[in-house]
């Protein structure tokens, strides 16, 4: 999956308006990035990328790129 596709998937799953975020977007500035969104990310990484995302990882994420890098 390309980074563009991953971003689209994140936007769709977290119900962020399409095309409004990019790699460099700071996570804390995304309104939809609340505790539910973080939980959703955990499930998404497990289902789509077979990666085990933990609360500790999430605390270390600053930008969208950090999430993309984790997804692999």
């Amino acid at each position: 999956m390309t980074n563009q596709e991953k971003i689209a998937l994140i936007e769709e799953t977290l119900e962020i308006e399409g095309g409004t975020i990019n790699e460099n977007t700071v996570l804390s500035e995304i309104a939809e990035y609340d505790s539910m969104a973080k939980l959703t990310l955990i499930v998404l990484c497990d289902e789509e990328f077979s990666k085990k995302l933990t609360g500790e990882h999430i605390r270390g994420f600053n930008t969208v790129k950090d999430i993309l890098d984790f997804m692999g």
């Binding site: 799953t13 539910m36 939980l39 959703t40 955990i42 499930v43 998404l44 609360g55 999430i58 605390r59």
Partner: protein, 247 residues
């Protein structure tokens, strides 16, 4: 509370709570047949115990097709049961947008379908004694809503509704069916998904349990109480054992 001369089937014995339940029932004098999907853990419990009244059997009870033949086998090997405890089941969190039917089904299968099928098979003529008792371990999630717990809560509520229906149907044989709505137990705290959820939700939910976290032995005691003759007129009941979580 005396369970001597009773033969109790415990399904899902390998969890910490399940193991504690097995040990407590044994200590009250019953014969216990432990069942789980994987041999390692139950074999370990069996080997460590020197109690001749403990036996074990392994089969994949989440695969419904295996249930009937294995219950028959248990009946032929051990005889009729006086009690049945279901402490198996699955937990998990998933927000609505990622809740697909496959996930719901998996949860329902583990927490409801297998339970009902085991009861259907174990209540055939001669398999379960009149006056016997059945207990399912449910959860306060059955009656209280939490974010991302749709499938889990629904499966536990479905479980509790089923015990009421089965209690009505089995009352003719004086077989009682009850459930325990447990709150947070120490063994839950170690599960991965609970850890993640707690970090994200800042333990708010946990604080509702005003008497603190529950030890597995306490749940085991409630199970034994329901298995014993002391509760021969309690049926179709969902006993809240939750440290005050739901009040």
């Amino acid at each position: 509370m005396d369970l001597s001369n009773k033969r109790i089937l415990v399904v899902g014995a390998s969890s910490e709570t399940g193991e504690t339940i097995v040990k407590q029932i044994l200590s009250l004098g019953a014969n216990v047949i432990m069942v789980d999907c994987f041999e390692d853990k139950v074999k370990d419990i069996f080997n460590k115990s020197s109690n001749p009244q403990l036996s074990y059997h392994t089969f994949d009870f989440y695969n419904n097709a295996e249930i009937e033949v294995n219950i028959k086998h248990l009946n032929m090997t051990f005889g009729a049961f006086d009690g049945f405890v279901y402490c198996a089941g699955k937990g998990g969190v998933r927000p609505l947008q990622l809740t697909k039917n496959a996930f719901i089904h998996d949860m329902m299968n583990a927490n409801l379908y297998s339970f009902v099928e085991i009861i259907r098979c174990v209540t055939k003529k001669g398999f379960f004694n009149n006056g016997g008792s059945m207990v399912a371990i449910s959860s306060v999630s059955s009656i209280k809503g939490l974010k991302s717990k749709i499938s889990y809560s629904a499966s536990k509520a479905a479980l509790d509704a089923s015990i009421r229906g089965m209690a009505a149907e089995l009352s003719e044989k004086k077989i009682r069916v009850n459930s325990i709505l447990k709150g947070w137990v120490t063994s839950d705290m170690k599960l991965d998904f609970i850890q993640d959820n707690m970090e994200l939700n800042k333990n708010e939910d946990f604080e509702k349990q005003i008497l603190g976290v529950i030890e597995p032995i306490e749940i085991a005691n409630t199970v034994c109480f329901l298995l014993s003759d002391a509760t021969k007129t309690i049926t179709g009941a969902s006993i809240i054992h939750d440290g005050g979580y739901s009040i």
